[in-house]
């Protein structure tokens, strides 16, 4: 298993290099001169020239990539051209925020998705199944921004229970942090819950009709044990895969959710950086996101080992 994990981790390196090349060159295709955007409203020629020189914009693409990757490999991701804050520092402060949001969103998604999937499979064709399907369809088809605004208007403006937006660090105030994160995490987890529910249901249906379940029932095990201990454990395999893949959805969904709820996370930073042509921030953020995505896949591989004993042989 150790050998397998090491080989999986090593395979990340060339992929990351490829990602770095892609993000760098794709960004150059973006229209507009970053020096002019960074120069602000006044468009002073000296300031435009300053940014052109600072960002090596007059050098070739390969030379510019060389400058950047050399700095990155030595741990220097540069500074944001807009705020002069170091990119690594920005990532360091934003990453835990988005991580918390994604974790809570996944928590909501699993909390809703798995039991709903089980119920739907066990009571297939019943009112419960149809009810769960309707809720799942609603979850899939509700846009984040719409649900977000509605929740803000209801829970913040009308009821006054939760803050409308913003972020409080859990270190400063844990309860305050949860109050700011409940709505965005629910909004973000909502659509994934529907996907998880559907996968759980189809996996459970497959498993519930298999021979070993029939055997378990024949042995006289209670229905609860059959479902939770035998069926669910096997049915969770595709759900774990899905969970890892949905991490990408969570991160991209976080872009919009963070924007609506003004959460200072990764997604919001990325959107702002793209519009401000803050190249170093975009490149650093995408690289770190790709890293996270790849490690999540390695983690999923690791989880297979834990859940499925056949892979450990």
């Amino acid at each position: 298993m150790f050998k397998f994990l090491v080989s999986r981790i090593l395979s990340i390196v060339p992929t990351l290099l490829l990602v770095s090349m892609m993000v760098f060159s794709l960004q150059q295709l973006m229209p507009g001169d970053p020096a002019k955007i960074l120069a602000g409203e006044e468009q002073s020629p000296e300031v435009v020239a300053y940014f052109r020189a600072k960002l090596h914009l007059d050098d070739s693409l390969i030379t510019r990539y060389g400058y950047w990757i050399k700095d990155v490999t030595s741990g220097d991701f540069g500074v944001s051209q807009r705020t002069e804050q170091p990119v690594l520092q920005l990532i360091g402060t934003k990453l835990p925020v988005t991580f918390e949001l994604a974790t809570l969103a996944m928590f909501f998604a699993l909390l809703i998705g798995i039991p709903a999937g089980i119920l739907s499979a066990v009571y297939r064709g019943s009112v419960i199944d149809h009810g769960v399907n309707v809720v799942a369809l609603w979850g899939l088809s509700t846009p984040n921004f719409w649900l977000g605004i509605l929740m803000i208007l209801f829970f913040s403006v009308y009821l006054g229970w939760l803050p409308a937006s913003g972020y409080v660090s859990p270190v400063d105030d844990l309860w305050g942090n949860l109050k700011t994160m409940i709505m965005p995490a629910f909004v973000l987890g909502n659509s994934i819950a529907a996907v998880i529910m559907r996968h759980t249901k189809s996996a459970m249906l497959g498993v519930l009709s298999s021979d070993y379940i029939r055997t378990a029932r024949a042995k006289g095990l209670s229905e609860k044990d059959v479902i939770i201990k035998h069926a669910l454990r096997n049915a969770l395999m595709p759900v774990i895969t899905l969970g890892a893949l949905e991490l990408g959805t969570l991160l991209s969904g976080a872009v919009l959710t963070e924007q609506i709820f003004s959460i200072p996370g990764f997604g919001k930073m990325l959107v702002d950086a793209v519009f401000n042509r803050d190249y170093l921030v975009v490149q650093g953020t995408v690289l770190v996101t790709a890293c996270g995505y790849m490690f999540a896949n390695v983690a999923a591989d690791f989880a297979y080992f834990v859940v499925n004993p056949r892979l450990r042989r």
């Binding site: 300031v47 940014f51 913040s156 913003g166 609506i260």
Partner: protein, 492 residues
Amino acid sequence: MVGLVVFSVQAQTLRIGLAEDPDVLDPTLARSFVGRIVFTSLCDKLFDIDEKLNIVPQLALSYDWSADNKAVTFKLRSNVFFHDGEIFDANAVKFNIERHKTLAGSNRKGELSLVSSVDVIDPLTVRFNLSAPFVPLLAQLADRAGMMVSPKAAKSEGDKFSQNPVCSGPFKFVERVAQDKIVLEKFNQYWDKGAVNFEKVIFQPIPDSTVRLANLKSGQLDFIERVATNDIEKLETDKKFKVSKITELGYQGITINVGKSEAAKKNALGKDARVRQAFELSLDRQGLIQVVMDNEATLGNQWVPPSNTFYAKGTPIVGRDINKARALLKEAGVTNPVVKLLTPTTSDAQRLALVIQAMAREAGFDVQIQSTEFATTLNMADQGDFDAYLLSWSGRADPDGNVYSFHACKQPLNYAGYCNQEVDALLNQSRTEKDTAKRKKYFDQVAAKVNADRPIIYLYHRNWLWAYNNKLQGVKNIPDGLIRTKGLKLAS
């Protein structure tokens, strides 16, 4: 009891919702409008402006121009301290002006280009020597070019200064979490600390106007800027809030490529002033304001609003006249001219472009909207790759800041490519004249000439729209759209 304590702590903090996240927090390098809102609480300037755009003292108490207008002497306020405890004096002014002029990437270099040197006369007297007379200097010093930072902190922090800016304003810097908040706290050694009524000011960037408003309504914020125009009507009827509407210093206009590139010669609009006049006559400004701005703007046809001292009354706003527009097109020998209107992708700009398209069609113009993200529009405008370009300007206190860079030959913001030697001469003369009445005459002539040539068709002046807790008192409605936190207080 607990409730009282909570209220007391909250009452000491002023929470302001901003429409964007500010850029670098160093007045020398700063480039964004929203950054100026934060600086207004953080960094005092040599001068400020009041509601009527008069230059009023802040760190400088008075000014005295030399006879040839090539030097100006300032008397400075005594007993002023920077946030790090350092004293503010003439040497600090000299350091700051030189820093503005020499720091790599300084955005103030152009604003102070005519300041050739600074002499320290005594600790509280300083003289600026100019290479040519430049009256708008005072207005520049009432903005970021006049902001003073602690020389000691600037030297010791170097390129990290913006992460912990040290100025001499009513509030000092505590922390910044990018895209989340900027926290300032009361500066106890402030020279006018009696006017500072909050212990803390927290600026929170919330780009979505609906969410910004929701935060105000739910009590998370005390003050929000740039309220959406369609939310104003409801807010005005809500007794829990007050609304400020301030006519901006800037404008919304249509820049026309009259000489920026070869494209100008190929397009009827760029080639012929009569076609531009017809285009203007096809537009109903009042209609535009009603549909696009929900009536939250003032009609305009110049770079300053009609209420401004420097507005040229001899060049009045002309109403819509479709018949005259058609006649002018006929006279110019043009039928159904095609106009490619370069438009940023913001919803306001899109709406404006659509209404312009519909209005101009009635006079025979075929307006084709080229909708492109702002960064790209800037590039296209710079290369002259457009016929007409929807562009707004946030405005400056002195009219020079609204007109020189746009209409003088080869200036950086002259996207129209307009160049008229007479206009250049008049603009340069206006920079040398201290007397407002005489200076106004120069601008009157510039307005008449520019209005005839129409490199920019000015449409209207938007309102700065603020909404705030009705207990908040002392709000100053200054046309630069910057929130003065000094003097604000909550009614008991």
